[in-house]
Amino acid sequence: MLGLSFVELIELFIKVLIFPGTLFSLLFSIIVIWFERKFLARMHLRIGPLHVGPFNRLGLFQPIADFLKLVQKEIITPSKANNFLYRLMPMLAAFLSALSIAFIPYALDPSGGYWVIFYTPLSLLVILVILTAKPFIMVGAGWAANNKYCTIGALRAAFQLLAYEIPIVLSLVGIVIVARSFDLAKIVEAQSSVWLIILQPIGFIVILIGMMAELLRRPFDIPLAEQEVVFGWPTEYTGVQFALVMVSEYFDLCVTASLITILFLGGWSGPAIPLLHDISPMLSGIFWFLLKMAVITVIIIMGRGVFPRLRIDQLLESGWTILIPFAIIQILITLATAQWWLPLIGG
């Protein structure tokens, strides 16, 4: 069967169903939704989710309760909507977001490989390709809903995502130059002695901002701007379709946080944790990976609490005139200072 041995098959099942597959990404979404609500509530001097779940007044199961509520709701399709596209797009969005997780290595395998569902030496490129497909989904959904707000939101989303893909790709060039590989695992290994955030701080900031814009987080959530276009392209979605859209958003957050961890924070590298390392060195690596992911997630989430939203022209302007030049400057600096950093990464 697939030419795999029994052990490999079991391993594949664990990877797909538990970590880093379905269970992990769903759990990540649920925890992040809860954390976002609770954290922002505390920043607002509110309490946040309160009643649902174990532990007195913590509201831990609030996202699950919300999800169950959404699943029960009626699915309403606007009468003038393009039925096929309208129903397809949320599914496609969730599917594509989940797909990227398959290419991200999360730790070193005890047997010598990497803990990744589908290993390919071109994983960075594959993830970029999947990211690029997002605007099409948004435009498709926004157009299919046949609502003016949806259309405006979808077009804004297309503008924004296309504008911010370029600085992201440009700063990835700097990383690929350093690591001399499109393989995410090789990029992590290149950072064994020094993290890339120290070598390429400008690239890190550019990617962080660019990724926040790709994720439509607060200072850049212009396509979803409630005050202007109600909810942007997913305005008309109800019930389980809306749940799919939300889930795809948080899957994207998971992918982004993992990606930044791998690219700049050295992935799973870190000192061995005594207890975890005794069980398996892989667990220690996973621990470090999740810790770094958490830090990135908190930074991305905090934008919602401390910044007002930008305007679309300001966003595009800063994308084209600030981030792209900075990304190019980073590449030039990387090339010019090659003689100093090459020994650092063992090249």
Binding site: R42, M43, H44, L45, R46, I47, R57, M302, G305, V306
Partner: protein, 144 residues
């Protein structure tokens, strides 16, 4: 410029560790001040049925009805706007404001208080009664 972007970050992070402002309502209730205006209440023994409250009410929330051979005001809580004009004008101080605020009903008719129901004092509030204890810049407002 960098400072003006980073400062809100730290300020926001600092507020995460402050006390929350919210009063957890079903478990805690804010202490109503002395003058707090809730539902109107009638003192049936004092009322002389002079109908001056009925005349002054801008919303016609009060009207006189026959009750046990006396003329007494009947109260429609759905119309009351809590302006206390009736309390002010009452010559025998028969009307007073209680602190009851939770009197929502499912049917419109339940808002009408005949004189006997009108003269009943409200039930005491359940839950802990809190008020603003301290105003602290560092840790926020404390209810207790």
């Amino acid at each position: 410029m960098v400072l003006s972007i980073l400062r809100p970050f730290f300020l926001g992070l600092y507020h995460v560790f402050k006390r929350t402002f919210t009063v957890k309502h079903p478990y805690e209730t804010l202490k109503p001040p002395e003058r707090h205006r809730g539902r109107l209440m009638l003192n049936m023994d004092r009322c002389i049925g002079c109908s001056s409250c009925v005349k002054i009410c801008p919303n016609k929330a009060l009207n006189l009805v026959e009750f046990n051979g006396r003329k007494l005001p009947q109260y429609n809580a759905g119309r009351c706007c809590f302006c206390v004009l009736c309390v002010d004008i009452c010559p025998v101080l028969a009307l007073s404001m209680t602190h009851e605020v939770e009197y929502s009903v499912y049917k419109k008719e339940d808002h009408i208080y005949p004189p006997d129901r009108f003269s009943q004092p409200p039930e005491p509030v359940k839950g802990k009664i809190v008020t603003v204890k301290t105003l602290d810049k560092k840790f926020g407002v404390k209810h207790g």
